[in-house]
């Protein structure tokens, strides 16, 4: 055997080849075939809007341009349903009547950009966006950095501190870091008229946010839903409790929080559940660092004017 090998090795060509074969490595296809990590938003939009007429595209401009692509893919059929079109027309009328609406257009879907479906681990349901100036920014219970935390949020901090003693109560009320860690902060209504609470309820947002919840309920497993208050509990009725963990408590508002919210221990329960299901826990303490996180915006949209 070894002798034969020697004979082979005499021929330089053969030995070269042999060496080549023994030392060759399997290459990866990815070196040739591009896997665009972030498809340009334009492409995605054209993919979704292929069959939309111009009027529809214009009406859904905010959705198409500011919603996260993953979410847009999940909801592209929903936003073309008649009720949603009606809702958009209603919002357009509100604007043409010079009504001031919260949150600003670019932030209506900021929940979708911070927490795309692939990273959602916990869902917190709110009801209505804050209706005072500069408060609402598209995440339920959250306010931007320079705005004092509202009473409900302060109670959430209190409840958390009761639950996890290492929790450091932040001075601000901006929950962006939670959202980025996989906590979807979704309101039932996504807009409100300035200083008129619940002014946009019953206009179609409920149906839309139901579709968001239903999507997560069906397509994901092992999520934690935190339902605070009868409104949220009712909205989360359809959630599959064998597939997900549903935690219920009274609303954190000062009117009801002392009836059990402050001792609900939802945050440690959520983390235990996530851990038991092989997922990474939420670092609830992540709020204290990284102040002034800018809201991600789609690159082709830099200001409000473009949308209006």
């Amino acid at each position: 055997m070894s002798k034969r090998k020697d004979v082979h090795d005499d021929s330089s060509q053969d030995s070269n080849k042999k060496q080549k074969i023994t030392s060759s490595k399997q290459a990866f296809l990815t070196s040739w075939i591009k896997q665009p990590s972030q498809p340009s938003s334009e492409n995605v939009i054209t993919k979704f809007t292929g069959k939309m007429n111009e009027e529809m595209k214009k009406l859904l401009q905010i959705e198409l341009e500011t919603m996260d692509n993953e979410w847009l893919k999940a909801l592209v059929n929903e936003i073309q349903k008649p009720y949603f079109v009606e809702l958009k027309k209603f919002l357009a009328t509100e604007k043409s009547n010079n009504k001031k609406l919260f949150p600003p257009d670019l932030q209506i879907y900021s929940w979708s950009r911070y927490t795309p479906p692939s990273i959602v681990k916990v869902v917190i349901l709110g009801q209505d966006p804050y209706h005072n100036d500069r408060q609402a920014h598209g995440l339920c219970f959250s306010v931007p950095h320079n705005v004092p935390p509202p009473p409900s949020l302060l109670n959430i901090y209190k409840g958390l501190k009761n639950d996890i003693s290492t929790f450091q109560v932040p001075k601000h009320g901006c929950l962006v870091n939670w959202a980025k860690s996989g906590v979807l902060l979704l309101n039932t209504s996504l807009t409100v008229r300035a200083h008129e609470p619940a002014s946009h309820s019953g206009k179609g947002w409920e149906k839309f946010t139901d579709a968001v919840i239903q999507y997560l309920n069906e397509r994901k497993s092992g999520l934690v839903f935190m339902l605070w208050g009868s409104h949220a509990i009712k909205k989360g009725k359809a959630i599959n409790k064998t597939k997900h963990l549903v935690l219920e408590a009274v609303h954190p508002s000062p009117l009801s929080a002392h009836h059990g919210f402050l001792d609900c221990h939802h945050w440690s329960k959520a983390n235990k559940y996530l851990k038991d299901h092989g997922k990474e826990e939420i670092e609830w303490n992540c709020l204290v660092e990284n102040k002034n996180v800018p809201i991600p915006s789609n690159s082709d949209l830099s200001n409000n004017e473009k949308i209006d």
Partner: protein, 258 residues
């Protein structure tokens, strides 16, 4: 509404068989023009791309483009319940595609069976395969290619394919020894399925994993002929053409260490 009826149901069974070893979950992208699937295997070495034209179905209806996320193993289990003579109809609601309905009809004994497969949410980027003018394109009987892969597996895990103007050579070298198979272009007018043709821009010599190649040869029942396209330092393309479309496999070559 999505509906596609295929008279030769066996074709769908074979197609699935030729994909499922390579990928476990994949999206069937349905559009007006037909059904396609594109997926890379877990080790990122091979890619399968399947395309079925709408005209191949009777009838075919797809009102708008959408994706069916399928666990191929589960789909295969259901497809095993279809007879080879069955007419297969695929149905889904394109607005809320959470399940795929499969209808198997046997015309001879009026047996109708219906299955529903739960769909999955599969995040898949669409991969862009660069268009290339290949240095060498070889057409040969698919059964012959299957046999070569099977035979040379005895000797080694990899095969070197050399293509010149008048010959294609498959060489394997392993611990127990070596082996090679040489084929020359032939054209038999009365039996086109047995012909071998070589179109050559320049000679090529590339090495590939036999494990993957023999995996690809699961496509053999789909077509009498297989097409191999090679270029220096490029992935190999293996294509089986069918009346209704094609299945293509891409495989990254093995490259020298230095």
């Amino acid at each position: 509404m999505f509906e596609a009826r295929l008279t030769q149901g066996a074709l769908l069974k074979r197609l699935l068989d030729s994909v499922k070893e390579l990928v476990t979950d994949a999206n069937f992208d349905c559009s007006e023009t037909g059904i396609s699937l594109q997926a890379m295997d877990n080790s990122h070495v091979a890619l399968v791309s399947l395309s079925l034209r709408a005209e191949g179905f009777n009838p075919y209806r797809c009102d708008r483009g959408f994706s069916l996320g399928v666990n191929l193993n589960s789909l295969n289990k259901i497809m095993k319940c279809a007879g080879n003579e069955d007419v297969i109809t695929l149905k889904a609601d394109d607005s809320s595609a959470d399940s795929l309905c499969l209808l198997f009809e046997n015309s001879s004994n009026e047996r109708v069976s219906e299955y529903e497969l739960k769909l999955m949410d599969i995040d898949q980027e669409h991969l862009s395969i660069p268009e290339t003018d290949y240095d060498a394109t070889v057409m040969m009987p698919s059964a012959e290619f299957q046999r070569i892969c099977r035979d040379l597996m005895v000797v080694s895990e990899s095969v070197t394919i050399d293509v010149s103007k008048d010959e294609i050579k498959f060489t394997a070298e392993g611990e127990l020894g070596t082996g090679n198979v040489k084929l020359k272009p032939t054209s038999t007018i009365d039996k086109p399925e047995e012909s071998i043709t070589i179109e050559l821009g320049q000679t090529v010599s590339l090495q590939f994993s036999l494990k993957y190649l023999s995996n690809f040869t699961r496509g053999t029942p789909l077509s009498d002929q297989v097409m191999l396209c090679l270029s220096d330092n490029m992935p190999l393309l293996v294509e089986y053409k069918m009346d209704i479309g094609y299945i293509r496999y891409y495989l990254a070559p093995k490259v020298g260490d230095e």
